[in-house]
């Protein structure tokens, strides 16, 4: 992350008027100033608001259904966490669902990163006919809402007898226009054209250049795109609900949908299921939060 505070801010030239008292934000030399207590208060309020529902999921998951149906609602952990997790694990097939989701999200992330990188490289650095037209087309496809393809996709999946098979979820999202565009933006800045020309001079084929020049240069962006795609694929709801109808082979989201739909819902078990489905990503956030934040911000500027 680069803050744009310039290290070489001009030495305060004789000011025409006395500088106004220090402002928050940036002062007249363009330097960032410290946030005051109001800033901290507001941020803490938002932090609590962001984290509270998650913490409360864990609290509710550690209670009993009857305790949740009392006033006031519980504010601290109870002793039923493991029995609830156990019930969710068995009733909603959570073990299989977690494994399925990991496979689906992992494959989609890997495929998206690979295909987006090579296509992004072509759009960023290679010359070919219809390049701009094809690029516009790629960006245009981002406008097409997924609802629009669901009916025929379902027909295809039904015809191939893929309903309840993981490839029905994986294949349609194996590469995204966003990914291609993201990698193009990154590579057109991060990969010097001279490097490719030098490799060509040495007689390297395009595939060799991809392997030895593009992949190493693209690695940071590939990591970011991989993480973003993984989170998205893990949390995808709409298409899996349709493609995995029989719930014999669910992803986590399909399993949670099934849990929420029981006729006598046991809320604490549902919360335990929600916790199980969210936990892997939360752990990733604790471990790689900084990189994920950096990635999203980088994607925002370049994308």
């Amino acid at each position: 992350m680069t803050t744009t505070v310039s290290a070489t801010s001009p030495p305060a030239a004789p000011a025409p008027a006395a500088p106004p008292p220090a402002r928050k934000g940036r002062n007249r030399a363009g330097k960032q100033l410290h946030g005051g207590w109001i800033t901290y208060t507001v941020l803490i309020v938002f932090t609590v608001g962001s984290l509270f529902p998650l913490v409360w999921t864990a609290i509710a998951a550690s209670r009993t259904n009857t305790r949740l149906a009392e006033t006031p609602p519980p504010f601290w952990f109870g002793g039923n966490l493991f029995s609830n997790l156990d019930t969710a694990w068995n009733d909603a097939n959570m073990g299989a669902a977690l494994l399925n989701t990991a496979v689906v999200a992992g494959t989609i992330a890997a495929g998206t990163v690979l295909f987006s990188t090579i296509a992004g490289f072509a759009f960023a650095k290679l010359r070919f006919r219809f390049k701009n037209l094809l690029l516009m087309l790629t960006i245009g496809t981002m406008m097409v809402p997924p609802q629009l393809s669901v009916v025929p996709l379902y027909m295809v999946v039904a015809k191939l007898e893929w309903t309840d098979q993981l490839q029905a979820v994986i294949l349609p999202t194996l590469v995204t226009a966003f990914g291609v565009f993201f990698m193009r933006q990154y590579l057109s800045q991060a990969l010097p054209t001279e490097l490719i020309e030098a490799a060509r001079m040495d007689g390297a084929s395009s595939l060799r250049i991809i392997w030895h020049v593009v992949f190493p240069a693209a690695r940071p962006a590939m990591a970011v795109l991989g993480m973003l795609t993984f989170v998205q694929a893990w949390n995808d709801f709409f298409w899996p609900i349709i493609a995995l109808t029989q719930t014999g082979n669910p992803t986590v989201q399909v399993a949670l949908n099934g849990l929420g739909r029981g006729y006598i819902p046991d809320q604490s078990v549902i919360m335990a299921g929600a916790l199980l489905g969210t936990l892997p990503l939360l752990i990733a956030f604790v471990l790689f939060g900084k990189q994920i934040v950096g990635g999203i911000m980088q994607g925002a500027v370049k994308g």
């Binding site: 960032q32 800033t39 932090t47 296509a119 025929p152 226009a177 709409f238 006729y263 549902i270 934040v293």
Partner: protein, 338 residues
């Protein structure tokens, strides 16, 4: 760096470096000549065709899973197709579309999509802008705040909605408990029209505010500092700097988030589906929070009318195109007026 490539043309003569010129000047034996021709043919073929090979996977996948379904949906919308036998199609002409025109549930869903879209997108983006501004200060633990407000983004629609269903419960929910503590009567969040839409919007706002804040923050950090400098020299207050420097510099980013959020709002599906508990895809007892996405799902996968679902999907697409066109006009206007 692949300087060790074995296929490199051997340096000719003493100068070495430029193989082409060397080939012109120094005589070569025919075998070497042929080898070079073969290499250069392969090289030209590589240069010419490999770009297409590199973008091919995307376009193949898009053709199979994007373009074909898009067109086929339009075709299916003109037919009577039932989920029970998706391969059997009966020509129906514009029937599915004309039926939508007289369908009060369609108009209801359209209106709900619009209102929920507005009350979830506007506060979300305004709060994100404010948050980004605060995060742009030099702060202790700034990374902690950034990660914390982004965490809801890692939560799935399903998990988030299930939690909020409990929090917004009529009898034992925490929101009503808190309202009671400050003397407000309990609210039936699920069954009221406005209240249920507000609750559904809350889930959207909760999940996406932090994400948008980070996008704004990234754009803010790219604003050159001397803009603030000269604004300060002109005696602009902090608020004036925010309005006259920050917001205009962020205009493309704001437009981008508006477009993305609008697309997201048109497609809203998981939140209203799960907020209804076990009652299914109706979006509440009175359809009070049924969105277009949900209505399409109900028509296709609950009532089994895939043709009708296709017609709804295409209508949604046309609405999106309309929004995009308006957006484009507005942004062009803004750019001109600058």
């Amino acid at each position: 760096m692949p300087t060790t490539s074995g296929t490199a043309a051997p340096p000719a003569g003493q100068g070495g470096a430029a193989p082409r010129r060397a080939a012109e000047t120094s005589p070569l034996d025919p075998r070497e000549q042929r080898r070079r021709e073969r290499l250069s043919r392969r090289y030209r073929r590589d240069i010419r065709w490999s770009p297409y090979a590199f973008i091919a996977p995307f376009f193949l996948f898009f053709a199979a899973f994007g373009l074909f379904p898009l067109l086929y949906t339009g075709w299916a919308a003109l037919h009577r197709v039932e989920l029970t036998d998706p391969t059997h199609m009966e020509w129906a002409g514009m029937h599915n579309f004309s039926r939508l025109w007289d369908d009060e549930f369609f108009w209801n869903a359209l209106q709900n999509t619009f209102t929920i879209g507005v009350i979830s997108t506007v506060p979300q983006l305004v709060m994100a802008l404010g948050l980004a501004h605060l995060l742009n200060y030099k702060l202790r633990g700034s990374m902690f705040f950034r990660v914390a407000i982004l965490t809801p983004y890692a939560t799935s629609v399903a998990a988030a909605t299930l939690v909020f269903v409990l929090l917004f419960g009529r009898d034992y929910g925490m929101v009503n408990w808190a309202l009671d503590a400050i003397g407000i009567d309990p609210i039936d969040w699920q069954n009221g029209t406005w209240t249920s839409q507000l609750a559904v919007s809350t889930i959207v706002i909760w999940r996406w505010t932090g994400y948008n804040a980070l996008i704004y923050l990234a754009a803010m950090q790219a604003v050159p500092g001397d803009l603030y400098e000269s604004a300060a020299l002109d005696g602009a207050s902090r608020w004036q700097q925010f309005v006259h420097v920050t917001i205009p510099s962020l205009r493309p980013t704001i437009l981008f988030t508006v477009v993305v959020s609008t697309i997201g709002a048109t497609q809203l599906f998981g939140e209203p589906l799960l907020f209804n508990g076990s009652a299914g895809a109706t979006g509440g007892a009175d359809h009070q929070f049924q969105t277009l996405g949900l209505y399409m799902y109900e028509q296709g996968w609950v009532n089994l009318h895939l043709g009708r679902a296709s017609a709804i999907a295409w209508t949604m697409f046309l609405i999106l195109l309309l929004i995009a066109a308006v957006n484009w006009l507005v942004s062009r206007r803004l750019r001109k007026s600058q």
